[in-house]
Symmetry: C2
Subunit: 401 residues, 2 copies
């Protein structure tokens, strides 16, 4: 192995990791359990929505033309021809000059084309005084105005929100075709690592990455499968990678933080498959490995949790999106003005932590290995590879956690 | 009951709903399962982080003063006194003029105060040429620079992100005290409702609200408990509310979309407890009820799913936040410029759906009862009660879904 990594750009790394992604299969589950799952197929409505023209207020169904000129001082008088019961399908038809009471959601009588709200009407027994004119279509939802039977209501690749679940319910989709959740194997390597429940001695550190990586994987809608700490030993690591690639859809190996360990991880991946990228022009996160064993993506993350996390957010999430077909990125970005200058080195993308408040992004300078700035920050700002820094007041996009 | 609702402002409704919230209990769970849970107590680190001064690069530990003046053309020469093994606690100390190899994450030898990256050094056998000076502290993380033993690493009320989980792991918190998940009972009322798996006849609509409300509740980190459709029948509704308030921490009743049905819901709540609010100056969502039975909050949501959803997002989420002590709102807002004028009525807060693209919020006008604009929209813009509308170009906050 050479001393220096042959780094590639972040965009190249994202392209490679997208290409590696093998699309997951699909399955059908009850709609009520489908929140945040990825839709595997377009879903069409089995009915017209609404299925009948209905009132959206409590009021009196009328022909709108009959209300012309009505006012508080000179109300129009309408004989009241009954009322519509909720859920009833059979309703009297309405003749010109008459009105019928309709509750919110009730079916509009045939012959009517608008509803006068009760606030603008007065029931005086067998007649109703209408004190304000209504326009054609006012206070009603027309038959199939929302969706027609056969319309696509939700699209393949959508991550289902509560609103989407609602529309699928309206469309009669009680069992929903969704993408199978990818299983992501997680290994930590490094002779310095001890389990989190152990008090570390000098020279030792707790295996924080298993927790950070597993939680990120879960947040992205995948299932983490933990393989724990593997010693920096060629045979142990080879065996662990074999098991994990056999049992999972992709594998994330964190650590091997030193050059020798990283090289060992890369060599094992190369023995069993391909190393496509070893080194990315990103700070923090440079010593990242992107490879595959068989058709399973195997990613080598930096050893330090704070660096590994940036690589997960900026690059690895595209692997998961590629596997599930998720159309939305789950990292939201928010525009803001920089509160201070940020210097940077040309030739690599810097990701600088910021605190976002009132539209101002204030950089949290300091060593990238610190966890405290990671948890204090609202997100990160990208400094492009071709830039030597960004000045105070620059409009930036903050990728918020 | 009077014909007109006595509406209160949105801020008053939020204040009342916060006051209603009874704080949930707490429990202890394994850290690996704690993503997105709310921390019930401050957590302190049981160790110094890092526990030893360590290198953050692969390189040569030196005394920084010894590197003064080093350059490509006139490198300094350092005798190599061995190397640090990962995880080793016993390390040679370093004397002035010497260097020791340290891998990333390795313990810094006593006597050293900086590390020269391998990229700026050349191993020529028993000696190393250093081609660039380093400053005191360069490329190292000092003992307890991140957190000191006893420091609070995560605070009570935090919703745990992957980064937070990482810091808790580093702090040795393998079992984490979190707030018990609230159980939220969900009822739908209305004679027009049919279960989602039924093909509705004219006059009937599917029970979309059970799905929308349950999914929103789950998204907010609570457990939905579904009681299904209850007929608009006083005894049935009274029995269902009794059961739900006995079994759950709060109850959401949607529908009773007509005035008579809403009044019946309000009367039953009043019989068994208090109705604090019946009617909010919000569009859509005016006929909302906020009450309690015993010490259990009972909320009456509008019957139409699109209206109910706005009330959940704008108001009811504060109930859940109050119950769990969640310090963060889960509705993110993003600043944007309005792409079109939005007219509005004084005296009520209007929530208008918008599509957000490239910093421009374009209103989706149309009837508030439509589901298709709800799923197409990126979020909502609030038009304050005292405003008659907002002009194109106004800077607004979009509450994004």
């Amino acid at each position: 192995m050479s001393l220096f990594l042959q780094v590639v750009s972040v965009s190249k790394a994202i392209e490679e990791i997208r290409n590696l992604a093998v699309r997951c299969g699909s399955e059908t589950i009850p709609l009520i359990e489908a929140l945040n799952r990825i839709l595997a197929e377009d879903v069409r409505s089995d009915v017209d929505i609404p299925g009948f023209t209905r009132s959206v207020v409590d009021g009196y169904a009328v022909r709108s033309a009959d209300t012309t000129g009505s006012s508080d001082t000179i109300p129009s008088i309408f004989p009241l021809r009954g009322s519509v019961a909720m859920g009833a399908s059979k309703v009297h038809s309405l003749r010109s000059g008459e009105c019928i009471y309709v509750p919110t959601g009730g079916i509009l009588p045939e012959g009517a084309d608008a509803v006068v709200m009760i606030e603008y009407a007065e029931d005086i027994g067998r007649e109703v005084l209408v004190k304000k004119p209504v326009a054609h279509g006012e206070n009603i939802l027309f038959f199939n105005e929302d969706f027609s039977s056969g319309d696509v209501v939700c699209k393949k690749g959508q991550r289902l929100s509560p609103q989407d679940i609602g529309v699928l319910a309206a469309a009669g989709c009680t069992d929903v075709p969704i993408v199978t959740i990818p299983r992501i194997g997680i290994l930590s390597t490094g002779n310095e690592l001890v389990p989190v429940n152990v008090h570390p001695l000098p020279g030792q550190v707790r295996d924080v990455n298993s927790y950070v990586v597993a939680s990120f994987v879960r947040e992205q809608g995948c299932t983490p499968v933990l393989y724990g700490i593997v010693r920096d030993d060629r045979d142990a690591l080879r065996a662990a990678i074999s098991t994990a690639t056999a049992e999972c859809d992709a594998v994330l190996i964190s650590g091997g933080s030193s050059k020798d360990d990283r090289d060992m991880v890369a060599e094992i991946i190369r023995d069993r498959g391909d190393v496509l990228i070893h080194g990315i022009a990103i700070a923090p996160g440079k010593p990242t490995i992107i490879g595959r064993v068989g058709n399973k993506p195997v990613i080598g993350l930096p050893g330090h949790p704070a660096s590994a996390f940036i690589v997960l957010v900026v690059i690895v999430r595209y692997l998961f999106a590629g596997m599930t077909g998720d159309m939305d990125s789950r990292v939201r970005s928010v525009p803001a003005r920089l509160g201070q200058n940020i210097p940077s080195s040309r030739g690599r993308e810097d990701y600088v932590r910021v605190i976002l408040q009132d539209g101002i992004a204030t950089p949290l300078f300091g060593k990238s290995g610190l966890l405290n700035t990671l948890v204090k920050s609202s997100g990160i700002v990208r400094i492009p590879a071709e830039s030597e820094g960004l000045e105070t007041g620059t409009l930036v996009e903050v990728m918020v956690w």
